[in-house]
Symmetry: C2
Subunit: 207 residues, 2 copies
């Protein structure tokens, strides 16, 4: 096994070519393909070619919202760290993450619920288009589902890609049942980098 020097600017293109090759003759929707491939690039896990579920027209809807300066709500600082905030800002958008706010932690503790759930209530007060990018906390999705059902929140879209074991599969299935435009990583897999990657893939493939 030899290391071949690859110029920094060519590493991503070469990775993408390897992914395209390994996907073989699999037919991907042309709007979904850049997102699926970038998630595989981030995870080296081809399971995402099967796991990712896109609601009708979701890519157009989310990109249009980003163009109008949508706020992205992340459920972890890791996801926020991975998003291209500069590119987002060029459209007037930014990323919010309420998880580390001290009053969120205090309220979560006193109510016996997760910080992620409290964060979603905070997010319900954000004006303008909002895209949720949830890569960690299924409780965030459960709270979102409830708030949507109660008519207390009207997200432009939900990226539902938490990873894990407890209520993760179930919480994603809840989001699949909503009428809110969504991209969901069905099953246990996902994560903060997947959430960040989907936002970045949307940004990089803006028409």
């Amino acid at each position: 096994m030899d290391i071949k020097f690859v110029a920094p600017g060519e590493i991503e293109a070469q990775s993408m070519a390897m992914i395209t090759k390994e996907l073989g003759d699999r037919e991907l929707d042309p709007k979904e393909a850049p997102i699926i491939k970038r998630v595989i690039h981030t995870t080296a896990d081809f399971d995402f070619a099967d796991n990712l579920v896109f609601s009708d027209g979701v890519v157009d809807i989310l990109q249009e919202a980003i163009r109008r300066g949508a706020t992205i709500v992340a459920d972890t600082e890791m996801a926020r760290a991975g998003m291209n905030k500069k590119k987002l800002a060029s459209f007037g958008g930014h990323v919010e993450c309420f998880m580390s706010h001290q009053d969120v932690a205090a309220e979560a503790k006193s109510r016996g619920i997760t910080r992620a759930a409290v964060s979603m209530e905070r997010a319900a007060e954000i004006p303008g288009p909002v895209i949720f990018a949830i890569g960690n906390a299924p409780t965030a999705l459960i709270k979102l589902y409830d708030l949507i059902g109660e008519g207390r929140i009207h997200p432009t879209g939900i990226i539902a890609v938490p990873v894990g074991f407890v209520n993760v599969v179930e919480a994603k299935e809840l989001i699949l049942r909503t009428n809110v435009p969504h991209i969901v990583a069905r099953g246990r897999k996902g994560g903060s980098p997947v959430a960040a990657t989907i936002i970045n893939a949307l940004l990089y493939s803006m028409p």
Copy 2:
């Protein structure tokens, strides 16, 4: 599929119990087990039960270094964001990430190498025990390998878990050849959350 309410403080324990159960009668080294399980918890990917390679005594060595206030060098802000910096600080340690330093970007560009490679040269100047936690850039590992060979750097340990396609497998194999204590995720898989998780698992299982 029903959502069952799980108290926030019990979600992790319940996840870990599920992981232990699904690992079945697989025998794990007692020092390695908390790290392997926490990586599976982070990724929902049982491949890591096979992929993670530990050099002899590495867990003890890294924990001892942390106790002496080791500096952790991360190759992404995402990995840094995921590490428990408070717990690390309780031992006098902190996390460095040179990737976003402006002069690193400028130098990388002028030399035609990656920021990650330049970052490793910067890291070579850090005094005291240093643990590298590399979850993204194989070029960081290649540069580390060269600096070790040249005697210009003497890391206490290397966590070598980049994810991806171009030179990722090969760069990890280089680290496996060194005498530096290491934890390596063999193959393509890994990532910033895996790097952060291994640091956290070391912190949480300090004897």
